[in-house]
């Protein structure tokens, strides 16, 4: 249970999954923020108004998958580091990363699941400069499709010596 372990359950995750048709169309954001908290920066970060305006700041963010372009602007705005972008065409996952060293394009990293277990090696295909996002890097890695919904963190270092 999420409240006991910090790991979202498959029931929690059902709430955020865009359908297969949408996934085929290209990159889309997944907001893994499941419980009401007084927080709203994600809404202000989206240049396409894909995240509904919060009627109440405690609302759970509601993303319109059709409007979302997968631009990734929201990723580094979220203080919960709860927003990811998946692209089922390019088989990539973009995630926020606030550790040093920041990986570089071409590096091999471990993909970790929601419990922090190493599940798949992955290649870094893009890194958005942390300086541009108040020190939060946005790292994009390439993964087989079946891992796109599983990997949520990376471990840098070990695989590149």
């Amino acid at each position: 249970m999420l409240e006991k372990t910090g790991i979202p359950t498959s029931d929690d995750l059902k709430a955020i999954k865009p359908d297969k048709e949408r996934l085929k169309k290209g990159p889309v954001a997944l907001i893994e923020c499941f419980r009401k908290i007084p927080c709203d920066p994600c809404f202000y970060s989206c240049p396409f108004d894909a995240i509904d305006e919060f009627k109440d700041i405690n609302d759970i963010p509601n993303l319109d998958y059709e409007t979302c372009t997968g631009c990734g602007n929201c990723i580094a705005s979220c203080p919960g580091l709860a927003i990811f972008v998946v692209d089922y065409n390019k088989n990539t996952l973009s995630l926020p990363y606030e550790f040093l060293p920041v990986p570089e394009k071409g590096d091999l990293v471990w993909g970790l699941n929601r419990a922090g277990k190493k599940v798949k090696k992955a290649e870094v295909v893009r890194v958005k400069d942390p300086a541009k996002n108040d020190k939060t890097a946005v790292v994009t890695i390439k993964l087989p499709k079946e891992y796109l919904m599983e990997v949520r963190n990376i471990e840098v270092g070990e695989l590149n010596g």
Binding site: E3, T5, P41, Y44, T136, N153
Partner: protein, 371 residues
């Protein structure tokens, strides 16, 4: 004797916004802070703040502190005194402070107390071993002085502070072996919990620390599972190795000055401890004294800043520095605060505040015997 219109005690987010708001109407403001710089808790917060975007959420705590400090420096009618500690509050509304090794007296027309909170301690065997730290001390070492507290940490408490400080420890390269939480559920925001969980940190709810292990310093801790009645389950003890035990078991409003000033103070668990009875403008039972921020109830920076603005605005209006929009502005701030507190966490806080609203409280002031 130093005379001023407004004296703000405490240079955290609540005190800083109170000073800024009060000074905007032209009043003379003094803000005193016992540390050598302004910012309060914010200067240790390297993470992005959750909260309301309008009140700076999404940016890092340290950046919020810098922004507010710059604003204060740009107001020529705010005098900042750092390394200045308020020591006493006297009947004639004189506040005594120690500043630059001197004992000084300040008399203000209104005083805003924004002293924040102190950390709670936890009772367990060997809790006096070197290596047992409060989360605040760990943050100070790490984030202000760049000193690693140790190599392996056991965090006690899965509230927001325990979760966030765990994350900051990981960023500093320290291993967080486990987060131990006595309650059956994680108390902090689950996005913060998930963040450290996917970095590999296990969170053990319904667990407590039984004792610290080690001869001259911490070498580990014995932790134990708790049953539904929060009793230790015999036979579930296990030892986790670590050289640091970090306690993040709650904060307690620093209301000593208020008690000394004879403001009515009530123990209110929803707000973290002894908090002053106040009206919706944050005025205490003493006409002279306002409060704002964690000292009025443990909450968050967004709330602290809004409260600071309300207290600052109301305090100056009572001494004749009124601006014509004051009612609208006060109403706007109160509406924001209300919206912020409309969620499940905020409801508990609202309940607490209702109890200590001026006019509502019917119990006995537990400090009245001191008079």
């Amino acid at each position: 004797m130093i005379n001023t219109d407004i004296l703000v005690i405490g240079g955290g987010p609540a005190g800083m916004t109170a000073a800024i708001k009060a000074s905007e109407s032209g009043a003379q403001v003094i803000i005193i802070e016992r540390y050598h710089e302004l910012g309060g808790q914010l200067i240790k917060q390297t993470h992005r703040f959750f909260g309301s975007k309008k009140e700076q959420a999404g940016i890092r705590g340290i950046s919020i502190a810098q922004e507010l400090t710059e604003k204060i420096e740009n107001h020529s009618n705010i005098r900042v005194m750092t390394e200045a500690t308020a020591e006493g509050y006297y009947e004639d509304e004189v506040v005594t402070i120690s500043h630059e090794n001197k004992f000084k007296k300040i008399k203000a027309k209104k005083v805003i107390i924004a002293t924040g909170a102190s950390e709670n301690m936890l009772a367990f065997e060997n809790n006096d071993l070197p290596g047992v730290y409060g989360a605040g001390a760990v943050q100070t070492l790490m984030n202000l002085y760049g000193i690693l507290p140790g190599e392996k940490v056991i965090m006690v408490g899965a509230g927001n502070i325990g979760l966030i400080v765990s994350y900051q420890l990981l960023q500093a390269g320290v291993d967080v072996e486990a987060v131990i939480e006595a309650a059956p559920k994680i108390g902090g925001y689950l996005v913060h919990a998930s963040k450290i969980r996917r970095a590999g940190v296990p969170i053990y709810t319904s667990h407590s620390i039984k004792k610290a292990i080690g001869e001259n310093s911490v070498q580990g801790a014995e932790v134990v599972e708790l049953n539904d009645n929060w009793e230790m389950k015999v036979g579930t003890e296990k030892v986790i190795e670590a050289d640091i035990i970090c306690l993040a078991v709650g904060l307690n409003p620093l209301s000593d000055l208020l008690i000394q000033a004879e403001c009515e103070v009530v123990y209110t668990p929803e707000l973290g401890g002894d908090v002053p009875i106040r009206d919706e403008n944050l005025k205490t039972t003493k006409d002279h004294i306002f409060v704002a921020g964690d000292v009025a109830g443990i909450e968050e920076a967004t709330a602290a800043m809004l409260e600071g603005e309300i207290a600052g605005l109301k305090a100056v209006s009572e001494i004749g520095y009124s601006n014509e929009n004051i009612f609208e502005e006060l109403n706007r701030l109160k509406t924001e605060l209300n919206k912020l507190r409309s969620g499940p966490v905020g409801k508990v806080i609202k309940n607490g505040i209702e109890k200590v609203r001026r006019g509502n409280y019917v119990g006995k002031n537990r400090y009245s015997h001191l008079r």
